[in-house]
């Protein structure tokens, strides 16, 4: 395969795409180059001639490369690849892991050390469910990438979109719950306002119940939105770390093919 390194390098330089996408294209071309080379060898050609013929057969023109670039430049993918291409150094990754642990610690403390769940809106349960799902999906992925080191290209990105999707769903459900709570409270807004005005102007003890209702809604909603935001950031960090690992593996695969 080393004989194709200069050609693959040239293709790599000419493809104006995020590296993960570029790596996948290079891997595909490299595999076909190898097959063509083997075919020409089996037809009795010398190694040098077989290499030349295989390269001629691939013949990726500027027009073809531009077409490939245009095909792969979807806005969403471009955005995702750009986001995950940022954290590269060991220190950056350590910083992210520390932030993740910090978030995990305060989330667990908030949930278990107070009456958080009983005080929060019932909308918190689907949010917890989705967060746990994201964690359950992530654990085997972490195990495969970091411990088992199962780096098969075809399986690298499996479940990553699902983790990203759970993060988005988590946020949507949480915000929707918050808005619903706001709506329910809002439907009594006039009552609240009248009572609040009454409390402020008369300062009667009997109105404490109404003030309590307002406070209960505030606690319910703020607990929900707080948990939603923390868990979404937590899922986003998990996804970010996994995507960085995957990008790094893909880059390494491409580097091997390119002889770097």
């Amino acid at each position: 395969m080393k004989q194709f390194t200069p050609l693959l390098k040239r293709i790599n330089e000419r493809l104006d795409l995020p590296q993960p996408t570029k790596s996948r294209i290079i891997l595909e071309i490299a595999a076909d180059l190898d097959d063509l080379y083997q075919l020409y060898l089996s037809r009795g050609l010398e190694e040098k001639e077989a290499t030349k013929k295989a390269e001629e057969k691939i013949n990726l023109t500027d027009e073809a490369l531009n077409e490939l670039v245009q095909i792969h430049q979807s806005l969403f993918r471009k955005l995702l690849d750009k986001i995950t291409a940022q954290a590269q150094t060991r220190w950056e990754r350590i910083a992210f892991v520390l932030m993740l642990l910090f978030l995990a610690a305060i989330s667990v403390q908030a949930i278990f050390s107070t009456q958080f769940l009983s005080q929060a809106s019932k909308w918190i349960y689907p949010v917890i469910g989705i967060s746990l799902t994201a964690i359950l999906i992530s654990i085997p992925k972490f195990y495969k990438l970091y411990i088992k080191k199962d780096h098969q290209i075809k399986k690298l990105r499996t479940d990553l979109s699902l983790i990203f999707g759970t993060g988005v769903l988590n946020l949507v459900i949480g915000v929707m719950g918050y808005v619903m709570e706001l709506y329910l409270a809002g439907s009594n807004a006039l009552l609240f306002a009248n009572h609040l005005a009454y409390i402020i102007t008369t300062q009667e003890v009997g109105s404490a119940q109404t003030l309590g209702d307002i406070m209960t809604w505030m606690i319910k909603s703020s607990s929900l939105i707080m948990f939603t935001l923390i868990s979404t950031i937590f899922i986003a960090f998990i996804w970010y770390i996994l995507m960085n690992k995957v990008s790094k593996i893909e880059r390494a695969e491409a580097a091997v093919l390119l002889g770097d």
């Binding site: 294209i25 891997l27 595909e28 071309i29 595999a31 076909d32 190898d34 097959d35 063509l36 075919l39 057969k57 691939i58 013949n59 990726l60 023109t61 073809a64 077409e67 490939l68 095909i71 792969h72 979807s74 098969q152 290209i153 075809k154 399986k155």
Partner: protein, 115 residues
Amino acid sequence: MDIPIIEIPYLTKNCNEILILAVLFKEKKHGYQIALEIEEKSDGLFKFNHGTLYPILHKLEKEGLIKGTWKQKGPKRQRKYYNLTAKGKKYATAQLAGWEKFFKEFFDIVGGIKI
């Protein structure tokens, strides 16, 4: 089923697409196999440079007409195999009807030429 019109300005594009879809109709193949099969079956009439092949394959994949999956071949080598999706099969069938119509009309006009 609406029969698509094969437009003259996009003749090459449509021809390349239907050739690839036809080769993938029965079984999954990777890029090199697709090019080779088209070339061999046509006795070298349709020579597919891979430079032409990849943009078409990737475009068809983006459109959901074919699906690419990585498979292990041998101890180390990975291959990206393409197979036709249900949407792709439907599209290919419609395109074939379009080509049949195209050739019928073409030969209706040129078929009368006698040397």
